[in-house]
C-alpha cells in the first residue's frame, strides 16, 4: 500500500498512456474489419477462407509479433507504430468474424422490405443492415477492447510504455504491490472501455436500451 501511495504519479501516468495507446488499435481494427466482414458475409464462398485467415492472425503470439514487425515493415523498434499495428491485427482478427456474424443476424425479411421500399444496396447497408447489426457489432467490439487493453501490457517487452511496466519492473525488483497494481489497473481500464462502449451503444441504438448489458452489469455486481 505504501508503494502505491508513493507512486500514484507513475501509476496515473502509465494508466493514461495505456488508455491512449489502446484507442487507436480498437478504432482501426473496427474500421478495417467492416469491409472484410462484409465480404465474408456477402460472398459465402469467401467466408470460410477470410474468417480462417484472420482467425489465424490471432494465433500469432503477441510477443513474436512485436519483435517480428519492425524488421518486416521497416519501422523503428521504439516506434509506437509497432505495437499499434500488432494490436490492430489482433483487433481485426476478432472483429472481422463479429462483423460477418452481425450482418448475418439481420432479419432477412427486414432486408427484403428495405429493398422493396427502394433502398439501393449501398444505402441499405448503411441505413438498415449496419444499424440492425449494431448489438452484435457492439458485442464484438467489447471483446476487442478488453483484449487490446490486456495485450498491450506485453508491449513493454519491446519498450513501449504501458501498465506492463509495472509487471516487468515490479517482478525484477521483487515488488509485489507493483505487479498487483498493474493487474488491477489493467482490468479497470478494460472495464472502463467496456463501459464506454456500452454507453455509446445505448446512445446510438436507443431501441436496445431496454435490454441489459450483461458483461458490465455482472462485472459490477
Amino acid at each position: 500500500m505504501t508503494w502505491v501511495l508513493n507512486n500514484l504519479g507513475l501509476i496515473l501516468e502509465l494508466t493514461l498512456e495505456h488508455i491512449r495507446l489502446s484507442i487507436l488499435p480498437i478504432v482501426l481494427g473496427f474500421l478495417i474489419a467492416i469491409p472484410l466482414g462484409w465480404v465474408a458475409y456477402r460472398y459465402r464462398l469467401t467466408r470460410g477462407l477470410i474468417l480462417t485467415l484472420v482467425g489465424l492472425l490471432y494465433t500469432i503470439p503477441s510477443l513474436a509479433l512485436f519483435v517480428i514487425l519492425p524488421p518486416l515493415l521497416g519501422i523503428g523498434f521504439l516506434s509506437e507504430a509497432n505495437v499499434i499495428i500488432a494490436l490492430t491485427i489482433y483487433a481485426v482478427a476478432i472483429m472481422a468474424r463479429s462483423v460477418a456474424d452481425a450482418l448475418a443476424s439481420v432479419d432477412p425479411d427486414v432486408r427484403q422490405a428495405a429493398t422493396a421500399v427502394g433502398y439501393s444496396s449501398w444505402g441499405r447497408f448503411w441505413g438498415v443492415d449496419f444499424p440492425l447489426a449494431g448489438p452484435v457489432l457492439l458485442a464484438g467490439l467489447r471483446v476487442v477492447a478488453v483484449s487490446t487493453v490486456s495485450l498491450l501490457t506485453v508491449g513493454i517487452v519491446v519498450g513501449v510504455q504501458s501498465l506492463g511496466y509495472l509487471f516487468t519492473n515490479g517482478y525484477e525488483r521483487g515488488i509485489l504491490a507493483s505487479v498487483l497494481t498493474g493487474v488491477v489497473m489493467t482490468v479497470l481500464v478494460a472495464l472502463l472501455f467496456d463501459r464506454v462502449l456500452v454507453l455509446l451503444g445505448r446512445l446510438l441504438m436507443p431501441w436496445t436500451r431496454t435490454r441489459t448489458a450483461p458483461l458490465a452489469k455482472g462485472a459490477a455486481a
Binding site: 490471432y58 494465433t59 513474436a64 467489447r142 490486456s150 517482478y171 509485489l176 498493474g182 458483461l215 452489469k217
Partner: protein, 251 residues
C-alpha cells in the same frame, strides 16, 4: 521475405531437432501446458456452463465474471502468481493463468449451446416423460455439442498463443526460443518458433474439428440450421462474443 527464408532454414536445421532444448522437446512442453490448462478449464467450465444452460440460473453473474476474466492480463498474472507462490510453484501458476484464459470461451460455448436449442424440443422431451436428467443428457448435451466445440476450439487457440509467455518465468515451451531470440537478436529463431506455434494451433484446431465430427451425432449436424447463432435472440447476441463461441465455417 529473406526473414522467412531464414526462419525456414532455422526450422530445417537438424541441429535444432535433437538434444536438450530441441524443437520436439519444446513442442512437447508447449502441448503439455496447453493440454493441462484446457483440461482443467473444461472440468470447471463445461459442467458449470451446462448447469447454467439447463437451469437458466446465474447466467448474468457468470457472463459478467467471464467478461472480467477476459480483461485479466496473463502477463502480469504470471508474475503475480510466481511472486506469491514462489519459484517452485511456477508450473501450477502457469497452468492456472492459462486455464483462466480458456474458461470464458468454453463456458460460453457450453451454455450458449443449450440456449440455442428450440424450447419446443425441450418441452416435447418433457411431455414424453423424460426426467430432467434424461433431458440433459439425451437432448441438451448432444444438441449443444456444436457450440461447445466452438468454445473449446477458441479456448485452445488462445492458450496455445498465450503459452508463449510462460517462458518469461523460466519455463519451456515454444516461447523459450522467442524469449531467448529477443535477447540474442536471432530473428530466424523468433520467426521460426512463431511459425511452429501457428502450425501447432492449426493442427490442434483441425484435430478438434475432426473430434467434433466424430462426437456430434449425425442427426444434430443434419438438423442444424445453416446459421444457428442468428436465431433472433437479441439478448444472447449482446451477451456473448460471437468471436469466441462460434466456429463453424468448416462444416
Amino acid at each position: 521475405m529473406n526473414l522467412f527464408l531464414d526462419a525456414f532454414a532455422w526450422l530445417a536445421d537438424p541441429a535444432n531437432w535433437v538434444g536438450s532444448g530441441s524443437i520436439p522437446q519444446r513442442l512437447a512442453e508447449h502441448l503439455r501446458y496447453t493440454g493441462l490448462a484446457v483440461l482443467v478449464a473444461s472440468l470447471i467450465a463445461v459442467p458449470l456452463g451446462w448447469w447454467i444452460g439447463h437451469t437458466g440460473r446465474g447466467r448474468e453473474l457468470v457472463v459478467g465474471l467471464t467478461g472480467a476474466a477476459r480483461a485479466l492480463p496473463s502477463f502480469g498474472l504470471l508474475f503475480l502468481f510466481v511472486m506469491v507462490a514462489g519459484v517452485l510453484q511456477r508450473e501450477p501458476a502457469s497452468v492456472v493463468v492459462l486455464m483462466l484464459l480458456a474458461v470464458p470461451p468454453i463456458l460460453a460455448g457450453a451454455y450458449a449451446g443449450f440456449e440455442v436449442i428450440d424450447r419446443r424440443i425441450i418441452d416435447a422431451a418433457r411431455a414424453m416423460g423424460m426426467t430432467e436428467w434424461q433431458i440433459l443428457w439425451k437432448v441438451e448435451v448432444p444438441l449443444g455439442l456444436p457450440l461447445l466445440f466452438g468454445g473449446l476450439r477458441s479456448g485452445v487457440l488462445q492458450v496455445v498463443a498465450t503459452a508463449v509467455l510462460i517462458s518469461y518465468i523460466g519455463l519451456g515451451g515454444l516461447g523459450y526460443d522467442i524469449v531467448q531470440g529477443i535477447e540474442l537478436r536471432r530473428f530466424d529463431q523468433m520467426l521460426g518458433s512463431a511459425i511452429l506455434i501457428i502450425a501447432l494451433a492449426l493442427l490442434l484446431d483441425a484435430a478438434f474439428a475432426l473430434l467434433e465430427r466424430w462426437a456430434v451425432p449425425r442427426g444434430v449436424r443434419a438438423g442444424r440450421l445453416p446459421e444457428p447463432r442468428t436465431a433472433p435472440t437479441g439478448r444472447r447476441a449482446t451477451a456473448e462474443s460471437p468471436a469466441t463461441t462460434e466456429r463453424e465455417e468448416k462444416n
